[in-house]
């Protein structure tokens, strides 16, 4: 856009595709913005996949068992009554299976419905309708906030927000509540929930080469050493730590050495293992495993967006005293957040009129006062109309007439 300001037909830069067609541009923005919502679709997909797989396994196992039981009955010589009993029990077993199947079907339907609602939400964003876009953007902000709160264990407000902005189908509250059980247990120094989670999701964790289970087992071992149950600890290590020997021998050996050093040790590398912080680390590790498992972004969406937005908005002007309040970076909180981030780069001029705060471009070009100050044509025309052609510079108080203004070409 700016390039076309170069007069006498010498545009400096070939105008990019975006700037020649603003419609294509905003269309692009929308589709690019939808592309960022991978997590929104991925989580219910992974959840659906998980419940379908476990459901399939359950059905397979039961049917297999029933068939085997029949075969067993044939091989054994049973009396008629025994055989009757045997068959009746199999019938009720199958009926139980049917009930379970119905239940898991309901759950799967729920996930299907959720994915559908999310797809519908994404496709509701259309080019052109400004109000709709604003509404969609507000929902996006709320979604990002709910994600942050769930990850930070602010469950209560997360639920309230999801409720009040009517985005329960777009938020993964139930999944985070599953994780909450594990996290709460780890907070009270109990690995059992976490271990159960590991065994439920064994295949996938193995595929991800996760060593989270090993870390849990290590911690349980350390707790036994702490309470001086040395023999139990050795038995435990034999059973649960030894299988990890092939991949994590070094850590395993280090842990085993605590048997000699005990929890009162001053030796730093062993003291560390007894530190209460290990439990916090486990919680962090669990969260990472959990995000990976469902294909979520490993950082909170809020942080990713804040970082990108702050960087894109950060200019040296934000830190000047006259910075407009509308600039988020005029706010001390956001200035501090932006502190370590890089400045945005600008290779095209973007001029905002000091008076109207509107963008100056070919429709509303910049005009220069004799004192060198630049304002938009619209603002100066308005001023001239109100004051009989007289222009007063709002920053210096200098006056001039409209005819004294000169044009400036900004490319």
């Amino acid at each position: 856009m700016e390039a076309e300001n170069g007069v006498n037909g010498t545009p400096v830069l070939a105008p990019t595709a975006e700037s020649t067609n603003s419609n294509v541009y905003s269309n692009d923005h929308i589709s690019e913005s939808i592309k960022l919502d991978h997590q929104l679709m991925k989580v219910p997909y992974e959840y659906l996949k998980k419940s379908m797989r476990s459901n399939n396994r359950m059905v397979e196992k039961e049917v297999n068992a029933v068939v085997a039981c029949v075969a067993e009955a044939v091989d054994k010589s049973m009396s008629k009554e025994e055989a009757m009993q045997h068959l009746t029990s199999l019938v009720s077993r199958l009926q139980g299976l049917k009930r379970k199947l119905d239940e898991s079907n309901k759950n799967e339907q729920l996930q299907v419905q959720r994915s559908r609602a999310r797809l519908d939400h994404l496709s509701s964003l259309k080019v052109g309708d400004k109000d709709l876009q604003a509404e969609w953007n507000n929902i996006k902000v709320d979604r990002i906030l709910v994600d942050y709160m769930l990850r930070s264990s602010y469950y209560c407000t997360a639920m309230k927000l999801a409720e009040s902005s009517n985005i329960k189908e777009l938020a993964d509250i139930d999944i985070f509540f599953d994780a909450r059980k594990v996290i709460d247990a780890l907070h009270s120094r109990d690995c059992s929930e976490a271990l159960q989670w590991c065994s439920e999701n064994k295949t996938k964790l193995k595929k991800n080469k996760s060593i989270f289970e090993f870390k849990l087992r290590l911690q349980e071992f350390i707790e036994m050493v702490r309470s001086e149950k040395m023999m139990d600890a050795i038995m435990y290590a034999r059973k649960h730590l030894a299988p990890w020997g092939r991949t994590n021998m070094k850590e395993l050996q280090q842990a085993m050495a605590t048997l000699a050093f005990k929890s009162s040790t001053d030796c730093t590398s062993y003291k560390m293992l007894f530190d209460a912080k290990q439990w916090d680390n486990l919680i962090q590790q669990f969260k990472q495993e959990f995000y990976k498992f469902y294909g979520m972004a490993l950082e909170p969406l809020l942080h990713i967006h804040l970082q990108a937005g702050l960087s894109a908005l950060k200019t040296p002007f934000c830190y000047e005293t006259g910075c407009t309040k509308e600039d988020p970076l005029s706010n001390e909180t956001f200035r501090q957040l932006a502190e370590p981030l890089p400045y945005a780069k600008h290779i095209h001029s973007k001029l905002v009129c000091y008076i109207t705060k509107e963008l100056m471009n070919e429709d509303n070009p910049p005009l220069v006062l004799p004192n060198g100050y630049v304002y938009s044509r619209k603002a100066l025309e308005d001023m001239a109309k109100k004051h009989n052609g007289k222009i007063t510079c709002p920053r210096t108080g200098d006056t001039c007439t409209f005819s004294e203004l000169s044009k400036a070409y900004i490319s």
Partner: protein
């Protein structure tokens, strides 16, 4: 971005899920049926034959083997898995899979983030959410963010039910600040109140109101006052008068909006929630940053150390808060030492570019954008 491909792939998953469920049910029913038949035959069977039930059992086994439920279940699962993995692939193709890739390794101070969120809720008048959040996060300084907005929303609530007393009181208290900014908010509020008095208590009361309050605005709003006084002529049928606009709800909304704007500004706060602005700017910036992250994938340490982004990010115009001049020749942003200079032909370059073109002499040089010539002395600094 092709959402229809997603829709199609997902439809297939949803269909297969239904089919799989009903077929699985069928399979179980079939086994049940065979068993129940066998049981019935048992009951029909004569007392004696000990061998009979053995034959029946092995018949059942034969039937089951022939039916092959496990094989059928396996086939169903295969189809379902196929649809699922196809949908998964379409998803990976359509979306940016890992947006955390654009993230610099750093810790945001969680207190600052939480304060920003609390401010966001209070700014939007979501006090219940804000309180709940502050309570849950135990953020010590956040509660103080509430009070100023609380007052603002109380006034707005009152205005919604067309009660102006609180707003007028507020405007009176902030009279000098509003005057300094050249705001006409107080007058507009009095104008609304005048109409209200006129409708409720008749002409003489309205006249009295005008005498009491309009005098102060005579110099600034003479035209508006004259027009407002015209309402007196139409006192009983104001809705069908040329002054009906003063009654309309859009007018009320406009004044409420103006009040919000002035109030935020006097509070030293932005009109838009800053958190909103940043997140939405982030949405526009992320696609470019993700591309950059891909290009710089092997240079993570360089990426971490950047003082300025290496590419320009296009943001919509509502995110432009400052005038930025970039010299078209050197592509540098202007600074106090390297300010923008206006050439006599009207083209603007940075000072350093002009000095370079003039090669340090006082001779004429040609503008890079037009045939006109100029000397350094003829160029003058401009201020945006």
């Amino acid at each position: 971005m092709d959402l229809s491909a997603m829709q199609d792939a997902f439809d297939r998953v949803s269909k297969k899920q239904k089919v799989s469920y009903s077929k699985t049910q069928e399979i179980i029913d079939k086994i049940l049926e065979q068993m129940e038949q066998t049981i019935e035959k048992f009951l029909d069977g004569r007392e004696n034959a000990d061998a009979d039930h053995k034959i029946l059992l092995s018949d059942l086994q034969g039937q089951l083997t022939q039916y092959g439920p496990l094989y059928q279940l396996g086939a169903l699962q295969k189809e379902l898995n196929l649809a699922l993995s196809k949908y998964g692939k379409v998803m990976e193709k359509q979306f940016s899979v890992d947006i955390a890739k654009a993230y610099r390794e750093m810790e945001f101070d969680s207190h600052l983030v939480n304060q920003a969120i609390a401010l966001h809720f209070y700014r939007q008048g979501l006090f219940e959410l804000g309180d709940s959040f502050v309570d849950e996060t135990q953020e010590p300084n956040a509660a103080s963010l509430k009070a100023p907005f609380y007052e603002m929303y109380q006034i707005l609530e009152a205005m919604k039910s067309r009660k102006l007393e609180l707003a007028l009181e507020w405007a009176r208290l902030h009279q000098s600040e509003l005057d300094e900014k050249g705001s006409s908010l107080e007058f507009k509020l009095h104008q609304l109140q005048f109409v209200h008095v006129l409708l409720k208590s008749g002409c003489s009361a309205a006249l009295q109101y005008a005498r009491n309050f309009f005098g102060r605005f005579a110099s600034q709003h003479m035209g508006d006052i004259q027009r407002t006084m015209g309402c007196l002529l139409w006192a009983r049928k104001l809705e069908s008068s040329p002054y009906a606009d003063l009654l309309s709800s859009t007018h009320w909304e406009a004044v409420s909006l103006e009040f919000t704007r002035e109030c935020c500004s006097l509070l030293g706060q932005a009109y838009e929630s800053p958190l909103n602005v940043i997140i939405l700017a982030g949405c526009q910036a992320l696609p470019t940053l993700l591309k950059l992250a891909t290009v710089m994938a092997n240079k993570r340490s360089e990426w971490q150390a950047l003082k300025q982004l290496p590419v320009e990010i296009e943001l919509d115009k509502e995110f432009q808060f400052h005038s930025i001049f970039a010299c078209p020749v050197s592509r540098d942003q202007s600074t106090a030492e390297n300010p923008p200079m206006l050439m006599p032909c009207g083209h603007v370059l940075c000072k350093q570019s002009i000095l370079k073109l003039a090669k340090g002499s006082t001779r004429l040089f040609k503008c890079p954008y037009c045939p006109l010539e100029a000397t350094v002395a003829q160029c003058r600094q401009i201020y945006f």
